[in-house]
Amino acid sequence: MVNMLMDTYSVLWTDLRFLARHWRRTLATSLVSPVLYLVAFGWGLGRGINVEGASYLEFVIPGIVALTAMTSSFSGAGMKLNVDRLFYRCFDECLMSPVSPLSLIIGKALIGVVRGLISSVAFLIIAFIISPTLTFSPLFAVALVLTCFVFAFFGVFAALLAKSHQDMATFSSLVILPMTFLGGTFFSLSQLPEALKIILYIIPLTHSSQCLRAVTLGQPFPWLSLLVIVGFGLAFFLGCVLVLRRSSV
């Protein structure tokens, strides 16, 4: 067990070194879209609108936190692994080292978690300056960390499946981009027709937005959604294990 943790850290260490060297650029680029969303939707479009008993700005902030956590974790874990596997080819070196596949998957996912947390916390600080009435609780942190894990595993999964860099970009625009807008981030699901609502509850980001929003707006916490997030995380993790096993054929 101790060995496995050490191995996981060893795998993570590589990507931490890279992050340490490029953290300013990484942080700046990952904040561009959430801040733009905040300005365009929160201030621009949503001024004077009230949703679920809060101002639109207060409503949209947890949604943007969820999508920031998603995109940063997904690309933080996925893009680097994709490059390591197909371009630098140094992932083979990890595969040939005496490190278990589980340590490898978790280690590669953890960099996504780290980057997801850095981006979303940085965005939260900006958001808090703009809207100091937001409330937080430990449950917010739990939901945020779990969200990062879900999408980091998803990123590793996608990167292990991808046969080219193009595959990864396609995956991003077909899966991640629609989720950005539809996952309960910018509008309240309660306004939608029943059929559409069911579809949107199938995507993981919806549950993350619901959990985060419930905390900041002081609504009852959707425990079921938290459970669904955990379920998605486990599913993506198992997906990684299966793909990695299959790839050594």
């Binding site: 060995n3 050490m6 191995d7 060893s10 795998v11 260490w13 590589t14 070194r17 890279f18 060297r21 390591d84 630098y88 080819r89 140094c90 083979d92 070196e93 990890c94 595969l95 040939m96 080292s97 005496p98 490190v99 278990s100 050594s248 054929v249």
Partner: protein, 284 residues
């Protein structure tokens, strides 16, 4: 050191390796020689646990590659054909990643990295980012990295592909030195002179089959140590092999006058390969 029994690997319809049997002894430099696509890299990938064989067995240091992959991984160092370094990290960081993945303690890590960078003459480059290194430096770094956990067996897949003559010679020297220091080396190459310069024994692989095995000298002796090359009518080149120079010269002198170009030279592994397969080693 390596025991390969009836090893077969099939990709779809293609038999990349078929019924390979081979024993590689501790302390030797063994070379797989063959054209691109002959099955050399597939064999290496199976031996280094990256690919599963379709059937047959391979054992390294007594450990089965399929059943005890972790023990195999601890015993081997691998230098792949393509550059497989993290190009965003520095020379030292690339070494450190590998040392960590192989469970070296922190004090040992530092000492071993310094020692090895010194060994491959990269000590002055230790803080440079890998992207900025020359091809030869990257190769040497890969070799240093593969040695970090003191493997008993080192795999070198086409170690000098794409390098200039001088760099190649430096690498050969390095490989010989590692071998003298106790590392068994298995290398693949499609350069004849590389196999002749380095390998104690050579296995010639063609279309997934091992078609000849022995020391370069033995293989050349089997063919005939001296080759007479003749070119008649300026189009057909013929090769005839003789056990010694006397026999070759007397044959050459007896040739009819219309044969204009006659070359008498030492046979090499290329001749062995061409005779066995009807193709040149460099052909795809």
């Amino acid at each position: 050191m390596i025991t390969i029994e009836n090893l077969t690997k099939v990709y779809g319809e293609v038999k990349a390796v078929e019924d390979l049997n081979l024993e590689i002894r501790p302390g030797e430099i063994f070379g797989f020689l063959g054209p691109n696509g002959a099955g050399k890299t597939t064999t290496i990938r199976i031996l280094t646990t990256l690919t599963k064989p379709t059937s047959g067995h391979a054992r390294i240091n007594g450990f089965d590659v399929l059943r005890e992959p972790l023990k195999v991984k601890r015993a081997i160092g691998v230098v792949q054909q393509h550059i497989s370094l993290d190009r965003d990290l520095s020379v030292r960081e690339n070494m450190e990643v590998h040392a960590r993945l192989h469970h070296l303690k922190s004090s040992e890590r530092r000492q071993r990295i310094t020692e090895l960078l010194d060994y491959v003459e990269l000590e002055d480059e230790s803080n440079r980012i890998v992207t900025d290194l020359s091809g030869g430096m990257k190769r040497r770094l890969m070799i240093a990295r593969a040695l970090i956990h003191r493997p008993k067996l080192l795999f070198l897949d086409e170690p000098t592909v794409g390098l200039d003559a001088q760099t190649r010679r430096r690498l050969w020297e390095l490989i010989r030195r590692m071998n003298i220091d106790g590392t068994t080396v298995l290398l693949t190459t499609h350069y004849i002179e590389e196999a002749e310069a380095l390998c104690g024994r050579v296995g010639i692989i063609h279309q997934g089959h091992l078609i000849a095995l022995g020391s370069p000298l033995e293989l050349r002796q089997r063919l005939g140590l001296v080759t007479v090359e003749t070119l008649s009518n300026n189009k057909d080149t013929h090769y005839i092999y003789f056990p010694d120079r006397t026999a070759a010269t007397s044959y050459a002198q007896g040739l009819p006058p219309e044969v204009k170009t006659i070359i008498v030279r030492e046979s090499n592994l290329e001749d062995v390969f061409v005779e066995l397969t009807g193709r040149k080693v460099g052909d795809d």
